[in-house]
């Protein structure tokens, strides 16, 4: 019975979401678009961080590459948006492949630091490129259609979620999970760990790049600071983890919840977002490091002691 209700709620939401722009005020549509895009980033992170267990602290680099690929294609080469965004995606995949191969050989915190350094490095590189407008950035052609961008972002999130769903039920996904749980054991059982890790990284990069492209076209502007914003990493990671990394809907739920709370607490999503998300991270990592999914599962048996348990296990 509970499952039937859950399915009904899910289907209702899925049907309602595309219709939102026709009944909501502009501010809500804009909030919705931003949330959908960051939720896409969280889902993309989920693939490499949640399922494969390689926590990248620099996925913002793909977002920036996607944005710049789109911008350069449209501004410097007069190409249409569809081509531009695919170009951005292709560049991201190439980056993930070339730089992923050496960096994915690192484990644990070394991998995290390396990805963070890569993200910072790319921001610096791009700010030196003339074709990217150096520090000033580029101005994209204007397309004033908030509804269009909302639907695009929704479609992108749907795509990302479907991909994650497919992963959760496929041989590929099982290979990723095996890598996360125990990479050596996975290799011995026949998983081609190098190939699978690279594919996961490329997939995450591609989806993040598409989000970056949509965002750039939407706000008609891109510059190194906003495109490669390090804070995005904090947000996408905490959203995925808060909701439940390694689950299909976790990052979605985390993104919507945290974005909404942040919106309620602040006047606009960018200003106080850093402060809010930083604090959420600190609290969540201390009291519920395995996210809502785990909390929901164990709360039934442990109740409030769940939080005390996490403290007890991890404190000095």
């Amino acid at each position: 019975m509970k499952r039937a209700i859950a399915w009904l709620a899910l289907s209702a939401t899925v049907v309602m979401l595309p219709l939102v722009p026709w009944i909501a005020p502009p501010a809500l549509i804009q909030f919705g678009t931003t949330t959908l895009l960051i939720a896409t980033l969280a889902q993309a992170w989920n693939i490499i961080g949640g399922y494969t267990g390689y926590a990248s602290f620099g996925n913002s680099v793909f977002y920036g590459i996607g944005g710049y690929g789109t911008a350069i294609a449209m501004v410097q080469f007069d190409l249409p948006f569809g081509v531009g965004i695919l170009l951005g995606g292709a560049l991201a995949v190439l980056f993930a492949l070339l730089l992923g191969l050496p960096v994915l050989r690192l484990r644990g915190h070394y991998f995290a630091i390396a990805t963070l350094a890569l993200a910072e490095a790319m921001a610096g590189v791009v700010s030196n490129l003339d074709i990217a407008g150096r520090n000033i950035g580029l101005i994209l052609p204007l397309r004033k259609d908030d509804v269009l961008f909302y639907e695009l972002s929704l479609a992108l999130l749907a795509l990302a979620t479907l991909i994650v769903y497919w992963i959760s039920r496929s041989r590929f996904g099982f290979g990723l999970i095996a890598i996360r749980e125990d990479e050596d054991a996975a290799a011995v059982m026949g998983v081609n760990t190098t190939l699978f890790k690279s594919l996961a990284f490329m997939l995450a990069g591609f989806l993040s790049a598409l989000a970056g492209g949509v965002h750039a076209y939407w706000i008609t502007f891109i510059d190194p600071v906003s495109a490669f914003d390090i804070t995005l990493n904090v947000m996408m990671i905490i959203m995925a983890i808060f909701g439940g990394a390694g689950t299909v809907l976790g990052p979605l739920v985390g993104a919507v919840l945290l974005a909404s709370i942040s919106e309620v607490l602040a006047t606009e999503i960018s200003a106080m977002a850093s402060l809010f998300f930083g604090l959420v991270i600190v609290v969540a990592v201390i009291f519920m490091p395995r996210g809502l999914a785990d909390l929901a599962r164990r709360f039934r048996s442990l109740g409030w002691r769940y939080f005390r348990e996490n403290l007890r296990l991890h404190r000095l």
């Binding site: 490095a121 990493n233 600190v282 990592v285 201390i286 000095l316």
Partner: protein, 287 residues
């Protein structure tokens, strides 16, 4: 030729300061196994403390060192004792995430408190320099270099020779045994992290004298500190001197031959390369 020597000299002076920057991070990482992604933010805070002491109280930046160190020490101690200690035995990823959160929060708070404008600390002797073998050495940079090396050596001595240092190293190696000897790990962890923050504060003070500061200098400095720590290896605190000099000279050369806007890219690039090639560092042991 003398230009080349000048560049090298600049690099060395910069390198000494970088060594001090990295020391706090390397100490906390090597001893407590805590990877602090907010390290650069601590440096940034130290720089702002020095700036305001100079601007509001006309306190000479070198005289302000003890104050910068003390204030950052207290900050770091509290952060460790009351927040970080809660997740010390959790997977390393949690520490990364929490310090990442600190970094973001501190940067944001700095931005709204201090504004994003560039600041600089300009003591009256800022323009003075002396010449040695045809190379111009700015006085402030030489003083910063000397101060940085002195602090690095002092820390190394404390760790190696004093009872407090022994307690810290004991905790690092065996928590249970340390407890049995009457050492309270929570306090030791707090003291160590506080020391790391204090060193970052000192580095920030000196950095404010030789370079412009704004709320965003944290991340590149964290990356530089990482690169230096890894190059020098975490086994020996003096390794940061090797790493610092290496990075300082490399940045100086980049500034001349490639362009000054590329220096941060070089730091990050070096970090990635070092991680890929040799995560245990030049001086570290191969595991």
């Amino acid at each position: 030729m003398s230009l080349f020597l000048q560049i090298i000299a600049n690099g060395i002076l910069l390198g000494g300061l970088y060594a001090l920057m990295a020391l706090g991070l390397a100490l906390v990482w090597g001893v407590l196994n805590i990877v602090n992604l907010a390290h650069g933010a601590f440096i940034m805070l130290g720089a702002y403390v020095a700036f305001y002491l100079f601007t509001l109280l006309h306190l000479d930046p070198f005289a302000a060192l003890p104050l910068c160190m003390a204030s950052l020490f207290v900050f770091g101690y509290c952060l460790q004792r009351y927040v970080l200690n809660l997740i010390v035995r959790a997977p390393m990823f949690n520490t990364l995430l929490i310090t990442f959160g600190f970094d973001v929060v501190l940067t944001y708070l700095a931005q709204i408190t201090f504004s994003a404008d560039f600041r600089v600390v300009n003591p009256s002797y800022a323009g003075a320099n002396f010449t040695l073998f045809g190379v111009t050495l700015p006085l402030v940079r030489v003083l910063a270099f000397a101060m940085a090396l002195a602090l690095t050596l002092a820390v190394w001595l404390i760790l190696a020779r004093t009872p407090v240092g022994r307690a810290v190293r004991a905790c690092a190696q065996n928590l249970l045994a340390a407890r049995l000897y009457g050492v309270d790990p929570r306090t030791v962890y707090g003291l160590t992290f506080g020391l790391g923050a204090a060193l970052a504060g000192a580095a920030g003070d000196l950095y404010a004298v030789v370079s412009q500061i704004n709320p965003y200098i944290g991340d590149p400095l964290t990356a530089k500190s990482f690169a230096i720590s890894i190059i020098g290896g975490l086994e020996n605190p003096l390794g940061v001197v090797v790493g610092g000099l290496f990075l300082g000279i490399l940045e100086s050369l980049t500034s001349l031959y490639v362009g000054s806007t590329y220096t941060d890219v070089v730091s990050f690039g070096v970090l990635v390369l070092v991680l890929i090639a040799r995560p245990q560092g030049l001086l570290g042991k191969t595991t």
